[in-house]
């Protein structure tokens, strides 16, 4: 039996309008379906349901908005199905664009903040340690739980906005301290510190951890103290794609893991797995489905969305290649947020990117907007998440490599 507070009951009875009523009905039905006995408060939300455009997702958003639903807690938006400012430049079908704009307006009209990014933790309104939040988007969930120490389950599309409207979620899972205990220990062994500085190392490590842990909570020992926010972003995104990782503890790095003992809540890990240079190489190989020297149609970077630092790194890679331009048939697409873009807007890097042939797209993702031509066959990326999903979602072969390898391959026009 689900226990409801007086306020929950009033929402359910429609005292706060039909939009709030519908959202509360969904929260309650889900809690009952999952056998959770009570609800709890959350004080922030991040919406992923605004990302995919389908007939049903649009109907859902416009139904809630049409019933007058408004979010009751600060709520950011994940990437949407359209680059709202530049879509005409990318030859997006206008009928798709019109529907995407309608869906975006529905979410904005409910009071969501138009961040339009899958990396909200590098953008705006970052949650604090211990804060109870309802976040969607698997990579953002992994980052919020692991790196920030906020507390969220992986809120599925539609649940996220219902949580934002009602401020209430089923009290279960990673919201509760006892469920955040590390279970499988990954010991990084014999990997030199220089090897850990590569941007592709963390994607490969994350992919491997996801495959080996599935839905348990991993503990990582031996990670370099110089690890950056972008590295942890890449790691979490890959681990949440190949597995179901929503929380990882990196000992000495993440806030709930000063020691192995703290990460395991005083217990011993169930399993210890060594990660050797050979394992990392195997993970790299598994992330690639394209052969070396294959003709390259597009490089795709910014999955999750590029940060200012990654733009700076890209500029260095382009300078190091000593090339002025990509090969004529190879596109070079970088996805970012409007917040990160605003930081480079007046920077000379932009001229370098433009000269090289970099196409920067905001607010969206190649998986959700029809940015690639149908004849695209082979793409390259430094993202474990993008490499994992591209073959199925985009119907392409994918090559996985470092940012520098992506740049060099784009110059040659082949992997």
């Amino acid at each position: 039996m689900l226990h409801l507070s007086r306020n929950d009951q009033q929402m359910l009875e429609g005292h706060f309008g039909p939009g709030c009523q519908m959202a509360m009905r969904i929260v309650v039905r889900l809690a009952e379906a999952c056998g959770v006995p009570e609800l709890m408060d959350v004080t922030g939300a991040h919406i992923d349901g605004c990302g995919l455009l389908s007939e049903s997702s649009l109907l859902f958003a416009e139904t809630l908005a049409g019933k007058g639903a408004k979010v009751s807690i600060p709520t950011t938006l994940s990437m949407g199905p359209l680059d709202l400012q530049n879509w005409r430049k990318f030859n997006i079908d206008p009928s798709f664009a019109q529907k995407a704009i309608r869906q975006g307006k529905a979410y904005e009209s409910m009071g969501c903040i138009p961040t339009w990014t899958c990396a909200p933790y590098q953008s705006y309104l970052t949650p604090r340690f211990g804060q109870q939040i309802a976040w969607g988007e698997s990579n953002a969930v992994a980052y919020a739980n692991s790196v920030l120490g906020a507390r969220t389950n992986r809120y599925a599309d539609f649940h996220d906005i219902c949580a934002a409207i009602t401020g209430r979620v089923p009290r279960c899972g990673l919201h509760l301290q006892e469920n955040r205990k590390g279970q499988v220990l990954f010991q990084i062994t014999d990997i030199p510190a220089e090897a850990m500085q590569g941007d592709d190392f963390y994607s490969a490590l994350g992919y491997l951890i996801g495959v080996r842990t599935l839905n348990q909570i991993p503990i990582i020992v031996g990670m370099s103290a110089g690890v950056t926010s972008d590295n942890l972003k890449a790691l979490g995104a890959a681990a949440a794609s190949s597995g179901s990782v929503m929380l990882f503890h990196a000992v000495g790095i993440t806030p709930e893991a000063a020691t192995v003992d703290q990460a395991c809540h005083g217990d011993k890990p169930r399993q210890v797995i060594e990660v050797t240079p050979q394992d990392i190489q195997r993970a790299r190989n598994e992330l690639s489905t394209a052969a070396k020297t294959e003709h390259l149609d597009a490089v795709i970077l910014g999955c999750p969305h590029f940060s200012f630092d990654e733009f700076r790194q890209l500029a260095e890679c382009i300078r190091a290649s000593r090339a002025e331009h990509t090969a004529s048939e190879t596109r070079f697409i970088v996805k970012t947020s409007r917040t990160s873009y605003s930081l480079i807007e007046n920077n000379e890097m932009l001229d370098l990117f433009e000269g090289f042939g970099v196409e920067i797209t905001l607010d969206t993702c190649v998986f959700h907007t029809p940015l690639l031509a149908p004849e695209t066959k082979v793409i390259m990326t430094n993202s474990g998440k993008c490499a994992y999903y591209a073959p199925g979602e985009l119907g392409v072969k994918v090559a996985f490599g470092s940012m520098q390898q992506c740049v060099d391959s784009a110059v040659r026009g082949c992997v």
Binding site: I26, A33, G49, G136, S138, N153, A156, D157, S244
Partner: protein, 153 residues
């Protein structure tokens, strides 16, 4: 493990109640519906998944749990709208995305896909190709074709 030709009965918990029957499509590998299922065709499109290329439409689709993307609920919803959804879903761990896709489909279209939860031991007793009848109370009747001594059907 189970005698040839004899029906098997299992008891599941109805996460989203309903009845269904059909051929079982069973996998022990978790699957993310987003990046894993095409809502237009019902095909499993995760090219790294062991059942890549199979069609879930109209099947009793048994997979242990979801994985990866939080967009899986939106894909299930769109499958239900487009008529490409499985006839029922059986998991061995609660997957809120499946429950949610089905609940929202009921809210918007008045139709849902029943979702059931089996213990891990019972789940491992399901076989690809079983004919499965699920009752609203969660009782699952399975009939399995008699197999010849070589193991093929």
């Amino acid at each position: 493990m189970i005698e040839n030709g004899k029906p098997i009965h299992l008891q599941a918990r109805a996460v989203i109640p309903g009845s269904a029957q059909g051929e079982a499509l069973v996998t022990n590998s978790p699957l993310s519906f987003w990046g894993g299922i095409c809502s237009e065709t019902g095909e499993i499109i995760d090219r790294r998944h062991e059942k890549s290329g199979r069609i879930v439409t109209g099947k009793i689709f048994a997979f242990p749990n979801g994985r990866g993307s939080s967009t899986s609920s939106a894909i299930l919803l769109e499958c239900i709208r487009a008529g490409t959804a499985p006839a029922a879903i059986i998991n061995s761990q609660v997957d809120s995305a499946m429950a949610l896709g089905s609940i929202v489909a009921d809210e918007l279209y008045g139709k849902s896909v029943p979702v059931f939860l089996l213990s891990e031991a019972d789940f491992s007793g399901l076989c690809d190709g079983d004919f499965v009848h699920i009752n609203p109370d969660g009782r699952i009747d399975i009939s399995r074709q008699r197999r010849d001594p070589n193991g093929s059907q």
